[in-house]
Amino acid sequence: MTQTSISTGHKKWINERLFDAIPLGIAVIDPEYNLVYANSAFEDLFGSWQHHKCYNLYKGRKDMCSYCESTMTFTDGTPRVNEEVGYDKNGRHIRYLQHATPVVDEDGNHPFIIHIFTNITEAAQIRDEYQLLLDQVPCNILLIDKNFRIVKANKRVRDWLGDVEDRYCFETLKGLKHKCTECTARQTFTDGQMHTGYHTWRSKEGRTLHFHVITVPLKQPNGGFDLVMEMAVDVTQTLKLEDGLKFAHTFLETMIATSMDGIFAVNERGKVTIFNPAARKLFNIMGNQVVSREELAAMLPKGFLAQVSGKPGHVYLPEIQAKTINGQTVPVRLFGNKLMADDGAIGMAFSVQDLSKIKQLEKEKLEAERLAAVGHTVAGLSHGIKNLITALEGGMYMLNSGLSKGNIERIQQGMEMLARNIERIAMFVKAFLSFSKGRQIQAKSCDPAAIAEEVVYLYAVKADELGIALKSEKLGNVNPAPIDYESMLECLTNLVGNAIDACQVSDEDGCHVTVRTFEENDTIIYEVTDNGCGMDYEIKRKVFTTFFTTKGLGGSGLGLLMTKKIVQEHGGRIDLESEPGKGTTFRISLPRRRLPNEIKAAQGENISV
């Protein structure tokens, strides 16, 4: 290969033109910092330079820089390199490397300094961005060498663990004296691949922190590498949330599985997603049988699903008939809830409670109350009978002693006593038979207020004759209810009859008797109020509990007992308020949920006394 030798002409050209051809800005300053010479690359960077001092042009300053490397180079003749920040010819910030090289003359003086500029604005920008990224990325970043020493750590790590450089990673991060048995960095050092893993590190306060760690080889242009970059994301919170979620899920699953109440749910498309064991038992569904939406709808009251899905919030049915999968009716309490998420419905959840046991208990309680009423009646009856026997014996005594003494008056008296008390026996027996005949309550839907109106109608003539103001009042709306019309009519007849009697005994004029019908808290209430003679404590205490009458021979003492029995058979109660001389109020309360079934009740009403 022949080599073309450079000619003198070429050398001259190079010497003369190189100054302007070189792509680095070059300028010359004198000891007064005046720019005395510069090339075209310099002009491209800083603009025209004549009649400027270096600090005017590079930095936009009027006065000298407080720290000036060129001053030192003028003094000691040592070349210097420095990174500087200044302004370009358009006034934009630039970053540049500035080489200051002294010009040395024959005497060894330095009359000039040459400034050579490398514009590093873009590189510096990239470097800054990289640093910012490294420090601010929400993850811990470490560079680790083959000996597992930390070469570099980002700001996050330094803020957390302090100065970690040159320390062993296992010691710094985990407080260990030896390398970890499972080490993602070692795996990367071994095969040059990226590896991930979970590590627990120890915080300064001694808390255990969980990290998701990624190690990547920091490859050099030749493909080899000495360093591994380890990036660790704190997943402690996430793991905690995951644990919490897992707990909540398990808790909920256990609750649903073991709940005494039936629980079931459908998703937004109506598919049955949950059907717990209690619900399966209630609806008689096999252990693993899938329940379709149609089957579910058929088991629940008609329209219930639509009602729940129709509006946000819940639908509560305190007592309703549901059906098992085989179509048998079950009394239940139902609760349906539309499930809403941020952006709409996500399904429906239901809970159902089997009321058959409760209904059975309520029935048994009613029966027990009824038996207690009968017991009281029998006790009262025996009292009445003993008095009757005593009176009869009295009659016999008068008759016998009258006969033996020949005392006609006493014979007469004895006959009258016998006749009177035999008549009383007849009346008792009649009343008691009607009490004890054990007629089954036959509840049919009827208007409760109509019964009160009929009683007032029946007594209207009598009340009018006695000058007693008798009226019926209906307060507000009272819907029809399953009541045995005839029996309830008998109750109110007894109470109104008593009230009229109380008025007759009263000294006051202008007596009145009022029958009110109204409803309060799902309870139908009858009130019979009079302003008659009233009762004192002794009488109030006895009216329901013994075979008791204040009417001498005129009463059987069974009217209120009969009334109480009928009221109890309707699941209700009867109370009274009374004050001597002021009047009396009897109140019959019939809670709707305890009223007998409208169909011919299948109550075990076979007790006869």
Partner: protein
């Protein structure tokens, strides 16, 4: 009855039933006692004060005011508290449950259940009155 008495003993009968009053009155009168009768508790109290009877036969179940209340009124009254009382009642409660209602007052001298045997009644009355002498 051949009882010889310096003066006839007086018995107050308290009962709400007219026929029973007539019956007991006849029994006692036939045995030589004087009788006064009251139809209820408050009348019984007034008569006891005015008539100073030697013995009171008292019913329990009466309208207006129960015999137990009347009994306590007698026992609270300084002039009446020493008059012996026989309770004659048709109620089914045991004698003990009646005693529970005494609230610390002394027990009645006798307790008889209706219907009563006239001979038994006279025997009890005679016994009590004999003790008093």
């Amino acid at each position: 009855m051949n009882l010889v008495m310096s003066a006839a003993k007086k018995i107050l009968i308290v009962d709400d039933e007219q026929d029973i009053l007539a019956y007991f009155e006849a029994i006692f009168q036939d045995s030589g006692y004087d009788t006064v009768v009251a139809r209820d508790g408050s009348e019984g109290l007034e008569l006891a004060k005015s008539e100073k009877p030697d013995l009171i036969a008292l019913d329990i179940t009466m309208p207006g005011q129960s015999g137990m209340k009347t009994y306590r009124q007698y026992k609270r009254h300084p002039a009446l508290k020493d008059i012996p009382v026989i309770i004659i009642t048709a109620i089914n409660d045991s004698f003990k449950s009646l005693l529970d209602e005494l609230n610390g007052f002394s027990t009645p001298e006798a307790f008889l259940n209706k219907p009563v045997d006239p001979q038994e009644l006279l025997k009890v009355v005679a016994g009590i009155l004999a003790d008093k002498i």
